[in-house]
């Protein structure tokens, strides 16, 4: 196993805790610090990905047809597409459960640090994908996940099967297509001949935009 070498960004953790510039007492700082250290010991970050030829919004040689306008826009002009999945592992869910019984103050900090970490892990996976296609002269765009825009959550099942995310990462779905371990990310990334300008990720395409607390407060979730 490679040693844990992720930095967990405290600013990100604070953001997920709803921090809005309050005084950071020593107690809070210590709590976030110790939960971040605990997370580093517990988390087992891992990812996998696979590349697919495109036939419109169907992945060639597969049975997956990506539905909706927003994914169509995301992959518009793409040469190929990459499916990726990343996770922090079941041990984080187990620890979160233990902390929720023991101390909710700790649990909320652990949870926020976990969100920061899964983002960092997804970013690293994305960079690896970007680097792999540089030689071919292909550029990647952003991560687009089932549940964003009008891409249905039900796409998860095929996505996970196509890249073996269950066998390789232990990701399973509930009947409602929620991923377990909870701190898991799946995404679709396009590969383009030209550098992609104009991000298709973010609030503009997000299905939660009408409800989002972050957005209401003028910040973003990722």
């Amino acid at each position: 196993m490679p040693a844990f070498d992720y930095e967990i960004d405290t600013d990100e953790t604070l953001r997920y805790l709803g921090y809005r510039g309050q005084e950071l007492t020593e107690d809070v700082r210590n709590r976030i610090g110790s939960m971040t250290e605990l997370l580093k010991r517990i988390a087992a970050p891992a990812w996998t990905w696979g590349v697919f030829e495109l036939d419109g919004t169907r992945l060639s040689g597969t049975e997956l047809e990506l539905e909706g306008d927003s994914i169509k826009r995301h992959l518009d002009g793409a040469e190929k597409c990459v499916l990726m999945a990343a996770t922090l592992g079941h041990s984080c869910d187990r620890e979160a459960m233990r902390l929720e019984a023991k101390s909710l103050a700790d649990a909320v900090c652990f949870n926020a640090a976990s969100v920061a970490l899964i983002e960092a892990v997804s970013d690293r996976c994305q960079r690896e994908i970007g680097a792999s296609f540089k030689a071919e002269g292909l550029h990647i765009n952003g991560r687009f996940s089932p549940g964003y825009g009008d891409l249905p959550l039900t796409a998860q099942a095929s996505l996970i099967r196509l890249i073996g995310a269950e066998e390789r990462l232990g990701i399973t779905l509930t009947d409602g297509c929620l991923m377990l371990p909870r701190k898991s990310v799946t995404a679709i990334i396009g590969l383009f001949k030209t550098e992609k300008v104009g991000e298709t990720r973010g609030c503009a395409v997000c299905g939660m935009r009408e409800f989002c607390e972050y957005r209401k407060a003028g910040v973003r979730c990722g």
């Binding site: 597969t62 792999s132 959550l153 399973t172 409602g176």
Partner: protein, 776 residues
């Protein structure tokens, strides 16, 4: 090579090489392209495989997604395998694809039913192969389904990562011990890694169990090349490495992902020239959780924590009655941290459904602690339900010499592979002499052995009685322990603290008795590990007996300055200041001081609630953020506990009862738990229905308890629908309660749309809503 059994290699890899679309369900090919499936089997038979595995890895109702009937797929698959001319056919069973409770949402019985359906079409197969399991509990469900619904031998393999554990944290020894104890005919490892990486894992299994060990590696560790998965180990290297595994004693071999008929052919050649000598199986008592094996070598001592037991414990009783297990989970955590090796779990309260509660409790505890559990109940039905869903090899506490008990409990221990504690009492009570107790012990041991329970799994409790009534009793117990150990060769258990019942300063007597008992050979004391004095005795014993090698544990614990236990300092801070600064250690002292001059309800209404109100206001104004509010709330909760502990029964009244639930489909419940803590802070009794709660459960509880307020939580947009259904169901059932809703994605508009009465934008708001409803 007579004793080597050769399985086939990968099915999926072969089907893909022959044009199966990626992501399609390979099992459907049994119906749509039988020739293709048969040809894969035939190639493996021609390559030398004795056993071919049916193309049914995902042939369960859940994974087939209605695209075909389980029965037609499985029957066709078995027929195709048979038609290949293989000597034997193994019916393949993979995971359901859903995670079991409590980390996941699927119940044990749902998983069991899925497997049972597949097994029910096993006609024509010779073996059932349960494989690629990550969750030992799911493997157990499959194994029980196979054993209870067919006569075929069952092999079970789990899959391990580079850290030597499955995704759910099970290590090879624990997997092997647990599955073997449940009656698997062979246990082993498949997938994920190559033969080289699996070698040390297989060795651990060979030492832990006497049954055959099966290994089916991938053709090496998969690597991603140009976005495609590649398995790098070629047939020659594969067979060379497999030879090492067989030399070590692995007798059932085959291949998993990336292996081909060429790999199997090379494997067969390697097996022909074999002189296998198995790494020795080392018999010793082994108890497991899903993630740990506690093994007693020689004179090793293991501690069983006694604190999860309602007898004389108000808070445990309350937790069991309300089915709110946080308090008990904390008892498990603190005992583990104090040095317990196993945990006794007793849910025996007359007014509850013990069988149901014990099952639930065992499930919850297994997720958060990795210590093996001792299931403690006198009700055989409760014992069976709990051991059935327990993800490991537990101890059953207990059977005794009564005919009725032997007949009821021992078959359960045998069927589920549990160790069992035998109490030396029978129809005539507890014999006064050591010889009398030995006789009963002998009867229990002989009966257990005759049922096929191995000697290592039989533990005898010679029973400790209080010396306050008869001082000769302690000596008889110790003599009995010695007799049992010497003549029956089984390990012993004692509930140590009974010895001092009725006497002052019980720790002094208990620790003295503990030392004496360990000296005569007690193996598993049942005791309170939170007592430093008992732990001192145990640690000393472990040095003197040689269990603590080089006294490393002792030195680590006791070298350097002895830290005195910090007493909570007396503080001049007000309750409000303590709460706002979240200083949990100070609150009990402050509350006790206040109780000297005020009534319990005055302390609650005049000090604690105003303090949490102040924290809530700071939060609302944006001066506090979530971790601070939670720290304050936890402090108030401890304050409440201090009031309740010192108050007379009935002097602290609840302000009202509120039901909380995270709605069906949603498995994230941290938000609901935050609300619950805050409502508790305001003096409400909260009935927490948990997560993924169906509307009917909410309705039934709301009606039964006739509550005024129900709070529903949903975190994801996709689960808000479950919220709407629940609101509708409550209205349709004519529940007069008010409904408040909350969750990260909710808004006021959405709350109105689903028909809720109140929208709680955060936990502080939910407390205000409750105040509004209950004060009117």
């Amino acid at each position: 090579m007579d004793n080597i059994q050769i399985f086939d290699g990968a099915m999926g890899t072969q089907l893909q090489a022959r044009g199966l679309k990626l992501g399609a369900l390979p099992e459907l090919l049994c119906l749509t392209d039988p020739d293709l499936v048969r040809s894969v089997h035939t190639d493996y038979v021609n390559a030398g495989a004795e056993v071919v595995t049916t193309n049914t890895f995902g042939a369960n109702r859940r994974k087939l997604m209605g695209k075909a009937e389980v029965g037609e797929v499985v029957s066709a698959a078995v027929r195709l395998a048979r038609e290949s001319g293989a000597q034997k056919v193994a019916l393949d069973i993979g995971p359901t694809g859903a995670l079991l409770k409590p980390l996941g949402a699927m119940s044990f019985s749902e998983a069991y039913e899925l497997f049972k359906e597949t097994v029910s079409f096993s006609d024509g197969a010779d073996i059932i192969l349960i494989e690629t399991m990550s969750d030992i509990l799911e493997a157990k469900a499959a194994l029980l389904a196979a054993k209870e619904n067919s006569e075929l031998p069952v092999y079970v393999t789990m899959t391990f990562g580079e850290d030597g554990r499955t995704f759910l944290g099970t290590d090879p020894e624990t997997a092997a011990v647990t599955l073997h104890s449940l009656g698997a005919d062979a246990v082993g490892i498949n997938c994920s890694l190559g033969p080289k990486e699996l070698l040390p894992l297989a060795e651990k299994m060979l030492r832990a169990v006497p049954c055959p060990v099966i290994v089916q590696p991938n053709a090496g560790l998969p690597v991603i090349e140009n976005g495609k998965t590649v398995y790098p180990v070629p047939p020659d290297e594969f067979s060379f490495l497999m030879r090492e595994l067989m030399d070590m004693g692995v007798t059932i071999v085959g291949g998993c992902c990336g292996t081909t008929p060429e790999h199997i052919s090379a494997l067969r050649r390697a097996a022909l020239s074999l002189s296998s000598s198995r790494s020795p199986f080392i018999p010793s008592p082994r108890f497991t959780s899903s993630r740990r094996t506690v093994s007693l070598a020689g004179s090793d001592v293991a501690l069983i924590g006694e604190r999860i037991n309602p007898t004389g414990k108000k808070k445990v009783k309350e937790a069991l009655r309300n089915r709110d297990y946080d308090y008990i989970i904390n008892e498990a955590i603190s005992q583990a941290e104090a040095g317990a090796d196993l945990l006794d779990v007793n849910a025996g309260l007359p007014e509850i459904d013990e069988a149901e509660v014990l099952e639930e409790l065992v499930t919850e505890l297994s997720a958060v602690t990795d210590l093996p559990l001792q299931i403690d109940s006198s009700d055989p039905a409760a014992v069976e339900r709990a051991v059935r869903v327990y993800p490991g090899k537990p101890i059953i506490n207990s059977v005794n010499g009564k005919e009725e008990s032997l007949a009821a409990i021992l078959p359960i221990a045998k069927k589920y592979g549990a160790a069992v504690v035998g109490l030396t009492l029978d129809e005539s009570g507890i014999p006064p002499t050591a010889e009398g107790r030995f006789k009963i012990a002998e009867k229990i041991v002989l009966r257990a052995l005759s049922l096929g329970i191995p000697r290592e799994d039989i533990l005898i409790d010679c029973l400790v009685l209080t010396v306050s009534t008869d001082q000769s009793l302690a000596v008889e117990t110790l003599r009995a322990v010695r007799l049992v150990k010497e003549r029956l060769g089984v390990r012993t258990v004692l509930g140590v603290s009974n010895v001092s019942f009725g006497l002052p300063q019980r720790e002094i007597l208990n620790s003295g008795f503990l030392a004496s008992a360990l000296a005569v050979g007690l193996d598993l004391p049942i005791m309170n590990p939170l007592s430093a004095r008992y732990m001192d005795v145990v640690r000393a014993h472990r040095v003197l007996s040689g269990q603590d090698k080089g006294a490393a544990g002792y030195i680590e614990k006791y070298s350097g300055a002895a830290k005195p236990v910090e007493a909570a300092p007396d503080s001049e801070l007000s309750v409000k200041d303590i709460v706002l600064s979240g200083r949990k250690l100070l609150i009990e002292g402050a509350v006790k001081k206040a109780l000297a001059s005020e009534t319990p309800m005055d302390v609650i209404n005049g000090l604690l609630i105003p303090a949490i109100n102040a924290a809530g206001e700071l939060f609302e104004k944006g001066k506090f953020f979530l971790p601070q509010l939670m720290a304050s709330a936890e402090t108030v909760k401890l304050g409440f506990d201090a009031v309740k502990n010192s108050a007379e029964k009935g002097s602290v009244s609840s302000k009202g009862t509120i039901i909380l639930a995270t709605v069906k489909g949603d498995i994230h419940d941290i938000g609901k738990n935050i609300v619950k803590l805050l409502l508790n802070n305001y003096g409400y009794e909260v009935i927490d229905l948990g997560r993924d709660v169906p509307p009917e459960t909410v309705v039934a509880e709301a009606k039964a308890r006739n509550v005024k307020l129900v709070g529903l939580s949903a975190l994801m947009t996709t689960t808000v629908k479950g919220m709407e259904e629940t609101v509708k169901a409550l209205r349709a059932a004519g529940c007069g309660c008010k409904i408040m809703v909350g969750g990260a994605v909710l808004t006021k508009e959405y709350a109105d749309m689903v028909g809720a009465d109140y929208y709680a934008k955060d936990a502080a708001e939910s407390a205000k809503i409750a105040e509004e409803i209950f004060n009117n």
